[in-house]
Symmetry: C2
Subunit: 449 residues, 2 copies
């Protein structure tokens, strides 16, 4: 994977590319045309907003529905789409449009962006991905319009349909409903909640997995069509979503602050929604700060885990969790190798998963420490929640985002960026291309737990 040329590494191009889009977006948002009041907006707030949009996080310091003008909202929507699909897909379209051939270097960058295994068919990959994305988003937008047009009239209804379809598919969590309340005001609208939840799940699973599922359906050989990666990602995702739904159903059933007053179908839909959204969409249909302790724990754990690689989601990823869980199971079964669905994983794959997981913990701990100094009056829970939300690019909050200090805003922007680009990618970019060392030290022994 390491290139010996003196050019920028794929890691660096990816990292710099995201940063460029963020700065451009922040500049546009700071202009008077972007705000309802027609005034300049502080660059600190626009950097935070643009980072939150490009990293599809959804944490906002300024109310998306009330503060920003339609122009500002469109900028945010485009930043979300760029972030969600990746700027690489965009540059590929550009390359296709102007008829240029894609260079090997460009292909390598794309490979990193989508975490695919080989260079073959990256272009057709991107083309199909865009077709898939726009189809799903378009269909969902129309369904959402059937609900929003009766509520807000034709113009606003169409606009809201498109905006929220994009925001949900890209797992961005931005909403236009105002007053920082996300979708709690419409939490009895089953069509809206289920459409958003399905968009989030589809977007969060990753295009590659869907391509394999389609291929399986087309050729009627699902077993052969699914790669090991897809099997693991689907298994972990299903366990998390349905396990989470069950936890919310049990623990919020009698919680007067959340679901007590609801009918059973509404309880079910809101539980499913609450289980879906922390990985890593960021909409909320019930109050986050008034959930039961178990509900909060599941939400926080899900924010840390996030979605699947090559998707629109952040966090340490379902595959990382899967690798660690399968390693645990293999150790308990007395196996030497990590076994997964009749395959074993290489040592380097497992070690990489350990590294990603631990980097995630380190980032969260550092984030909580920094916010702890700067957010006087905020509780431990509020701060931990905010940092996990940023790292998983989730966007849920217990309400402290709008009042954050400058240092905290910068810290959370950095964490969102690390969570989106991938902590390991950033570290490897900073480290540069080390030469492979072939020294192997003698084995040492260590006692464990």
């Amino acid at each position: 994977m390491r290139i010996k040329k003196k050019t920028l590494s794929p890691f660096k191009i990816l990292a710099i590319g995201f940063a460029t889009v963020i700065f451009t977006g922040a500049t546009l948002l700071s202009l008077p045309i972007s705000s309802v009041s027609g005034q300049f907006t502080s660059f600190l707030d626009t950097i935070f907003t643009a980072t939150s949009a490009v990293c599809v996080t959804g944490l906002v310091v300024l109310d998306t529905g009330l503060y920003w003008s339609t122009f500002g909202q469109l900028v945010i929507m485009i930043l979300i789409e760029i972030g969600g699909l990746g700027f690489m897909a965009m540059s590929t379209i550009f390359a296709i449009l102007v008829g240029k051939k894609i260079t090997l270097k460009e292909r390598l960058v794309m490979q990193e962006a989508y975490n695919t295994f080989n260079l073959q068919g990256v272009i057709s990959h991107v083309r199909y991905m865009l077709l898939f994305t726009f189809s799903v988003q378009g269909l969902a937008a129309i369904i959402l319009m059937t609900q929003f047009i009766p509520m807000y009239g034709v113009g606003k209804g169409i606009y809201f349909g498109i905006f929220h379809a994009i925001s949900a598919f890209c797992n961005a969590g931005f909403d236009l409903l105002g007053n920082f309340t996300s979708v709690t005001v419409i939490n009895t609208n089953v069509v809206v909640l289920m459409t958003l939840a399905m968009l989030i799940n589809i977007g969060g699973l990753g295009y590659m997995v869907w391509r394999e599922i389609f291929s399986g359906i087309t050729h009627k050989k699902m077993k052969n069509a699914l790669s090991l990666h897809s099997k693991v990602v689907i298994t972990i995702s299903l366990i998390l979503v349905f396990g989470g739904t069950l936890v919310f159903l049990i623990f919020e059933w009698n919680n007067p602050a959340t679901m007590q007053g609801m009918s059973f179908p509404h309880k079910l839909v809101n539980s499913f929604f609450s289980s879906t959204t922390p990985r890593t969409a960021g909409f909320n249909s019930i109050s986050n700060s008034e959930m039961s302790p178990a509900g909060k724990l599941v939400t926080m754990a899900f924010m840390f885990i996030g979605g699947s690689p090559g998707s629109t989601a952040g966090g340490v990823k379902t595959s990382t969790l899967g690798i660690l869980i399968f390693t645990l199971i293999s150790v308990l079964r007395g196996r030497d190798e990590t076994e997964v669905f009749g395959r074993h994983l290489s040592q380097s794959t497992v070690y990489r998963a350990v590294a990603v997981f631990l980097m995630g913990i380190v980032i969260v701990v550092l984030g909580v420490t920094v916010l702890s100094i700067n957010e006087v009056g905020a509780t431990f829970e509020q701060i931990l929640y905010e940092v996990l939300s940023a790292f998983g690019t989730v966007g849920l909050t217990q309400g402290i985002t709008p009042g954050l200090t400058a240092v905290s805003k910068i810290t959370l922007s950095t964490i969102m960026y690390l969570g989106r680009v991938g902590p390991l990618t950033v570290m490897l970019a900073l480290a540069g291309q080390k030469q492979k060392v072939n020294i192997k030290y003698p084995e040492g022994k260590l006692l464990i737990g």
Copy 2:
């Protein structure tokens, strides 16, 4: 490490042995002679107390200083000493006293209990360990008496000196000062705090490490005397203790609820004490529930990590953390193997560390979920704190222990037991001895974060 005989596995003997001591202790504590009031105590409360003592946790539902009679307190002290040194040392002394030879099976059990690498010299190991333990405890008891006698008179002062020396060395965290306030009432007594902190650090590092340090001092070749295990454990412990001290010094400096009113030396000593005690002693010199968010995070993280293997401490252990951190560093440096001080670790060592770490997380998540149902009115933070405290056999609390429901008491007792005996040990005991399977599946690929 697996024995093919039809006898009980070392894992099972160890697990059953601990359980037997707990039940015996609980029975004694439930008798009228054990309480000040001269009444029978409910078995639920005595099981909790005995488990807390044998697992050297220090969570208490009944005030150790006020509820229990001197007889009851002595039972608790003996349970702590048995738990701290391990019932294996006791059974070895018994074997030595009656002149019996120790069988291979007994040696294997001891090996498991102390996590040593080979069978050689286990007996002399235990003998030296007891000498070391009683020397340190005796010296510390005398130092503590110089402080306690002026406060409480000769009889009570001597008794308090012995009790707290044992409790601190064994990382038990039980205290006799009353009203569930631990050592906060004497948090300006530098001698007491430093003596307790040193006892905790000495006990928490593990006897094996100290034996190597002594050997290094005696032969003046520290570099050769220290095993890889000792180097890792000492390094991680030093980083945690001094890193933690710094965090508490910075974050509690101006906290009016904890250290604001103290002089600089007192701030320093209390920071050092606060950094030492969550791993896994359980005394507290400043208020836990009023700490800064950063202080709470460090405390909770330290409770989960715990002390070193083969020591009186619980948690996932410093060596487990060390292995994961060195794996992260090795991945970032582009190495294929986990490298530690010029050695590489075997794949199975790293996988075992992953398993222990993940089992810890699973236990904590399940614990929080159970307590969340049963502790109506308790906050997420209080519950998480309580469960982490039980798992790390720490004993710190945000105040909910005395009012716990029956289900929560049983759950926490189980978690203390798992934390003390080691989650992996328990799982392997339950799983029994699986035969080694030599099938190796073909390699599969997975995408990570």
